[in-house]
């Protein structure tokens, strides 16, 4: 069995992740931040440790500016819906996932203006971005790395432009957090949305926001209100982080697992993980490129994540993925990958592509088997 669908969710998880979750369930899982007994405090510590490790990973100074959500989708919705008002203008790229596109298109109907910049080489893209800025531009929201072809966007330059123009800059780091080094200050990121279950190697149901220390978060309305364990005498929602956005009992067991995932990748070093994964992707790509009858959808950036989109010209992507699964036990993902706009942008809409995405547990042997399978499929079908 070969799993190369890590852009959907990473698999397997390091053993430490499951063990940390079991330890939390068996030894700590009181209600964190609610009661004041030792077990509740222990549960709170487990979650706080996750905040600390995430803050360290992203070079965020204050761990309390990590806000936990269910996943990147919820985190993105929190800012998109909580910040944008009718009459505001937002700039984004054509390579966004539907977790960005759908909330934006929904708000467009209510009077939010949207400019979608078509993906181009970095310099041209940044030029277009700068030209799209208007008086009412309130937010620039960019995918850090595409889940379709691994394209890495020039967030540092985009963030600089946003800063110069007094515009909030947010990135969708669902595909990058954990496999590309990120520094919220160096990279000029105001707000970052992450998901726990991809390159951070945590369980599903974990994710959130990192809000830089100099961002006025009170401009974002909270989507949910309720119990926080703080200011219990008040019937109004607290206005400090993370409580303002974190009502309800948190996913302590999931966040304990996420912490173990982060500690695992941090010990391995993010840039080394990136180098390793990308070398697997290059190996695969160099074969696909020299094969007749195969189209490969290259990203418009020099560097990329280890996500490769291709098609065998005569075959639908869904069929290729099905044969890879049924005959070779190789798990990929076909179709549009929740990103119709991105597929339009790279010219593979509506049929989609076969996507192969590597993770830390893949090997060169996996790549060889994958290449052999693709050779056979393009010959036999």
């Amino acid at each position: 069995m070969i799993y190369v669908d890590n852009a959907a969710t990473s698999f397997p998880k390091p053993g430490e992740v499951g063990r940390a979750m079991l330890d939390y369930l068996e030894n700590k899982s009181a209600n964190p931040g609610r009661s004041a007994h030792r077990l509740s405090i222990e549960a709170g510590r487990a979650i706080y440790r996750t905040r600390e490790n995430l803050a360290r990973l992203l070079d965020l100074k204050d761990p309390l500016r990590i806000v936990f959500c269910l996943n990147a989708t919820e985190a993105l919705n929190l800012v998109i819906r909580g910040f944008l008002e009718p009459g505001m203008h937002v700039i984004t790229s054509s390579m966004e996932h539907n977790s960005v596109m759908r909330p934006l298109r929904n708000l467009e109907k209510k009077g939010v203006e949207i400019t979608v910049i078509r993906d181009k080489e970095d310099e041209l893209f940044i030029n277009d971005l700068e030209k799209s800025i208007k008086k009412n531009t309130a937010l620039i929201l960019l995918n850090h790395a595409s889940n379709v072809n691994g394209r890495i966007f020039p967030i540092k330059s985009a963030g600089k432009i946003a800063e110069k123009n007094g515009i909030l800059f947010m990135i969708d780091a669902a595909q990058s957090a954990g496999c590309i080094p990120i520094d919220m200050y160096e990279d000029n990121i105001n707000i970052l949305a992450f998901t726990g279950h991809k390159s951070l190697y945590g369980p599903q149901g974990t994710g959130g926001l990192a809000i830089r220390d100099d961002v006025d978060f009170t401009r974002i309305k909270t989507l949910k209100t309720g119990g926080t364990g703080s200011k219990s005498e008040k019937e109004e929602q607290p206005t400090f982080l993370p409580d303002m956005f974190e009502s309800g009992t948190p996913n302590g067991v999931g966040l304990s697992g996420l912490n173990a995932g982060i500690e695992f990748i941090t010990a391995r070093k993010i840039n080394e993980i990136h180098d390793f994964e990308i070398s697997l992707a290059h190996e695969l790509k160099s074969y696909l490129k020299k094969s007749a009858g195969i189209t490969i959808y290259e990203p418009l950036s020099e560097d990329s994540t280890a996500t490769v989109s291709f098609n065998i010209d005569r075959l639908p992507s869904s069929k290729v993925a099905m044969i890879l699964d049924e005959k070779y036990e190789i798990m990929t993902r076909a179709g549009l990958h929740c990103a119709p706009s991105a597929h339009k942008s790279i010219g593979s809409f509506p049929s989609g592509t076969v996507r192969i995405s590597f993770g830390i547990f893949n090997t060169y042997e996996h790549v060889e088997k994958l290449i052999d399978a693709i050779i056979e499929i393009s010959r036999d079908f």
Partner: protein, 76 residues
């Protein structure tokens, strides 16, 4: 004889946990305890510290711009 101690009250348990983590990384002896009833009706936690460490505690509070509700003598 017991050393003199104080409790620091914060606005959220996350802030108390943050202070605990920072104090422990400076090897200070601290302990999270339930907020004494006479200090607040809130059911949360506060940080018990030694008065001898107060200067270092305050330095941490300043350096990390930690907002706190108040510092009170701790009576057993």
């Amino acid at each position: 004889m017991k050393e003199a101690r104080s409790v620091i009250l914060f606005y959220s348990s996350s802030a108390a946990l943050k202070m605990e983590s920072l104090a422990k990384s400076e090897n200070l002896v601290v302990k999270l305890i339930p907020i004494p009833r006479d200090l607040s009706s809130d059911c949360g936690i506060c940080l018990l510290v030694l008065n001898d460490d107060m200067e270092e505690i305050k330095t941490i509070i300043d350096n990390h711009r930690i907002e706190y509700e108040g510092i009170h003598d701790y009576m057993v």
